[in-house]
Symmetry: none
Subunit: 407 residues, 2 copies
Amino acid sequence: MMKTGKAEIICTGSELLEGKLNLYVPLFHERLAPLGFAIVREQSSGDSLESICDCIRCALKRAELVLVCGGLGPTFDDLTRQAAAKALGRRLGYSKTCAQILGINFGLKKLPPNFKDQCILLEGAKPLENANGTAFGQVITRGRKMLVLLPGPRKEWEPMFHDFLNAEISTFFKGLTPIRQLKLKLAGLWETQAEKLLRPVMRRFPRAAFTILAGPGTVDFILSGDDSGGMIGRAGAACRKALGAKLYGEGEDTLARAAGARLKARGETLAAAESCTGGLAAQLITDIPGSSAYFLGGAVAYANTAKMKILGVRAATLKGGGAVSAGCAREMAAGAKRVFGSDHAFSVTGIAGPGGGAGEKPAGLVYFGLAGPRGIRTFRRQFRGTRPFVRACAANFILDELRKVIK
Amino acid sequence: MMKTGKAEIICTGSELLEGKLNLYVPLFHERLAPLGFAIVREQSSGDSLESICDCIRCALKRAELVLVCGGLGPTFDDLTRQAAAKALGRRLGYSKTCAQILGINFGLKKLPPNFKDQCILLEGAKPLENANGTAFGQVITRGRKMLVLLPGPRKEWEPMFHDFLNAEISTFFKGLTPIRQLKLKLAGLWETQAEKLLRPVMRRFPRAAFTILAGPGTVDFILSGDDSGGMIGRAGAACRKALGAKLYGEGEDTLARAAGARLKARGETLAAAESCTGGLAAQLITDIPGSSAYFLGGAVAYANTAKMKILGVRAATLKGGGAVSAGCAREMAAGAKRVFGSDHAFSVTGIAGPGGGAGEKPAGLVYFGLAGPRGIRTFRRQFRGTRPFVRACAANFILDELRKVIK
């Protein structure tokens, strides 16, 4: 029998609403899922006492576990303690134990005022020691619910979570089932096609949760739920069967990693010839540590003269079909294979846009070449979207074809 | 007299609570500030009708403008329309106008069922046309408040915001004072150095808000506030003076754009030779539309044979100092300049890590070459961090040096 808990995250700090990315939610998810908690909502609040108090009050109504991150520092805009006290109707008090700990940790006989402020706890709170700062974490329980206050900097809350909070949560919330998550990585299909393929599996496993994330030419399909009876494993196996070659990996796999693993296993090498992707495909390949074992290099042949000089594309080809043509893609791939002396080589030449397209060759039109031990194939695709999207689609398309060709 | 509005953002999608970063809040902030709106809270909700409905209901109590992003697609987990209808107590209806627009845009005489689902609007909603997808945005007003539903993909909501929503918001909410924001882009210094340089300016303009965001070898410094009396402009001028050559641009400028603009103005050309950055620098350069005017191409010379064959690096250089050396960087830059026939060329060769470092050449050590009409310079830098961070620092470093050398 599955039992999971509901958690909510509250991130405080006006900077989160004024241009700074919130990087923490995925980190909290990673830590809470194995404890049996699903995050059901995240709120980011500015540094206002009323607003933080309201966030806490509402979250405690909905969730069993509420984590507040940030606003425990010693400056004027650190208001989380007061907000939590107000939300719970509890008093704040000075903790002599905390003062002693700070005194020992920082080698101080007498604490300066800003250190003293850090020793203020909510009535009934259990302090969590901070290995890298002065702010204590606080764990407050009420009935069957738990409110946790954590300092904002990752280097402060992360060890606190690992050293103390994991145990606090699993001791207080007994009998929760860990949530297992399986992320399947697909390519060469659209979101709706993926859904169509996978719908029968979703119907067969109604207790699992499914999420579809569309990328440029890729789709992530995430299954999650309790793994009692190996449910997630079985659902995953059913998905794999339904997906066939559309599945290129799992978890943090990328197309470049999948293609690279196959090259490495076969002891074969790769080179790249890029025009409109401008180095993106090579960058994705070399993002993978150890890619130097199979990737010899690439040419970003942006100008026609570079295509001719570096890759040996013939002037007649450029004059005839132009740089955006199957002929040019073929000669670019062949040239890269020859120049770098690799087993495989691919090429990408097209119009990334937004400008540059016209008539029969609109923006988004891309030709590809794939040269290998058994000859050269070319492909033609029309992508739609912004310049970065077209470029990403083009790079992913050829990496996917590459992966499929290296069995 | 300053008057600003309160906005709230609701981002839907279980993936945002299960591992995916929310990249949108800063983007909405950028767009709402000039319209006079400060974001006072952001909520991320899973794909649950009840939860999205609750988010909308609560947000409408607190804020004048509520934007909901995501959940307008045609799949099972797209529930925003229903949630909004429930929160407002309004019905959903099929819009023939929307159906006609989709028919025209996609050249269809008869709409398939998943297209028809996209034509469902809230009672009284004004549809916003989608230049890159099938989901319409919806603007719903009630009393003096506005609820906006936007599709999740950035390439869909971004043009929608620009083409229609800006005008909808500024027409409905009259008399708000724009919050002016000035984002200064700095390179070649750390966050703390930037803060030290800018602290006197921050003291002189106490009514402006300042945010410092650190990137890989770059720093964004954001000033914001109402611009009465030209306050932000004056603070910006003071910052520029304090920063000197550390400032490379503003707003959406990138180092590649700054360097590219200078090349274009001088009618000069560029080539690249990359090893450890593996195409990243070329990719950043070619991210800029129109970069083909000055960027001839690049060589990603990952293997030593590629460095020799494509760029003419001498075997003796690789045998002597190794591939990660000033000598190799010099010959790579010279080779790229010669092979591509460009006015300028740079090179990057180093150890991106995490593996590959040892003894005197630890992971993160990178050598650079910069060849121009007046000869070649080399640089040596030691970066610390993960593989992607080291690669990004290296690419940014050489683009910054390039920018500075092309006056």
